[in-house]
Symmetry: C2
Subunit: 255 residues, 2 copies
Amino acid sequence: MKHYEGYLIDLDGTMYRGKERIDEAVDFVKELVKRNIPYLFVTNNSSKTCAQVADHLSEMGIPATDDQVFTTSLATAQYIAEEKQDAKIYMIGEEGLRDALEKQGFTIQDDDVDYVIMGIDRDITYEKLAKACLAVRAGAKFISTNGDIALPTERGFMPGNGSLTSVVAVSTETAPIFIGKPESIIVNQALEVIGTPREKTVMVGDNYQTDIMAGINAKMDTIMVHTGVTSKEQLTTYTKQPTFSIHSLSEWKFV
Amino acid sequence: MKHYEGYLIDLDGTMYRGKERIDEAVDFVKELVKRNIPYLFVTNNSSKTCAQVADHLSEMGIPATDDQVFTTSLATAQYIAEEKQDAKIYMIGEEGLRDALEKQGFTIQDDDVDYVIMGIDRDITYEKLAKACLAVRAGAKFISTNGDIALPTERGFMPGNGSLTSVVAVSTETAPIFIGKPESIIVNQALEVIGTPREKTVMVGDNYQTDIMAGINAKMDTIMVHTGVTSKEQLTTYTKQPTFSIHSLSEWKFV
């Protein structure tokens, strides 16, 4: 094991599973607090604001302030701000995305937009999708908060934002820019927020294809935990391996 | 030109463009009536019943009875009936699809289904898509009325059924069986309905990638008209050419 100055940590499957917190992970974060090591929760969830996520974590007894949460909505807003500060945006998404875009000062409108942004929207309608298609065909840049194809819920796997995004991608024959994990975009921004050097920061997560690949794509170290999506057996099938692979975060030794 | 005993004819772009009928095509159909040559309108539109389509054609002065219209909804219902007569179905779609499935006597329900059928649904919701995903993951066979990615309207190109279908296909990582053009499934069924031999029947349409490819896939002759989607210039870029290519149906000489 290795000493890291900063930790980027996934949420679902790493800190909790649905409504159940993962005690080993909570103890691990408490140890980070004790040792005064910076950490940032990095999530593909675009539906909630950072404050809502932090509140949810606090309720579960996981130490988290608003600015220790970095959502893909925040990363998306940041990404656009770097390209065009006064962007006009048509968005499909929930409160977290709207909040992030509004806080950046963008104008959100239906027509004549520079960007079409898609995040998970459980109030999706044909009209919303139609407007997105028309705007992309009219030349707006097409961005999606994340490509997750499915969301685990108590009912089973529900459609994720990546699958909703495919309506506009398929209809307009335009590939979107994805911001969230496994893309390096969100990780590079998270590194700027946490402020620790890339080579001394590590990405922690349970999902090989999002968390671990995000770390690999961003050329940083990774710690894979088997408390969520990817099993130890599945992990052996991948060519690129994480830097560390442990069953749960109780196995992590600070050095 | 060649003598054909039966004609399978596309609608949008071939018989009319939006609300405007194509006079040369109407004269052509009247000539078919006069010569007592069977014809069947074959459409990827799953939203309307055959009766509604026939009424619409009649209003435009195009001779058509209900049983001279063959929609992809009808083809879908027929396809399932051949596989499982007492099928339980979860459907997403509009009146045309529901009508076709109900007339086949299928049970339409939310859970515990044999098939998930998707047709264009301009009242699409996340819950409808979620139910489809859950059913496909539970093992239901996944069928889509057609793969059209976009629908031409006065506002521009709106999302077609192929793009809505992609939500479930992407989320469940399951490719659907498509029924409509360019698949041969709908054409083979239309040939049974019209009752003329494949080698003496011809497919007429304006869209190379749906109508003409459907004819080619079904190994029958094709007549391409340039009154709709595919221009004469675009046609030259394709390897497999239609049997005949004419500007409009007024050029067709009966022999």
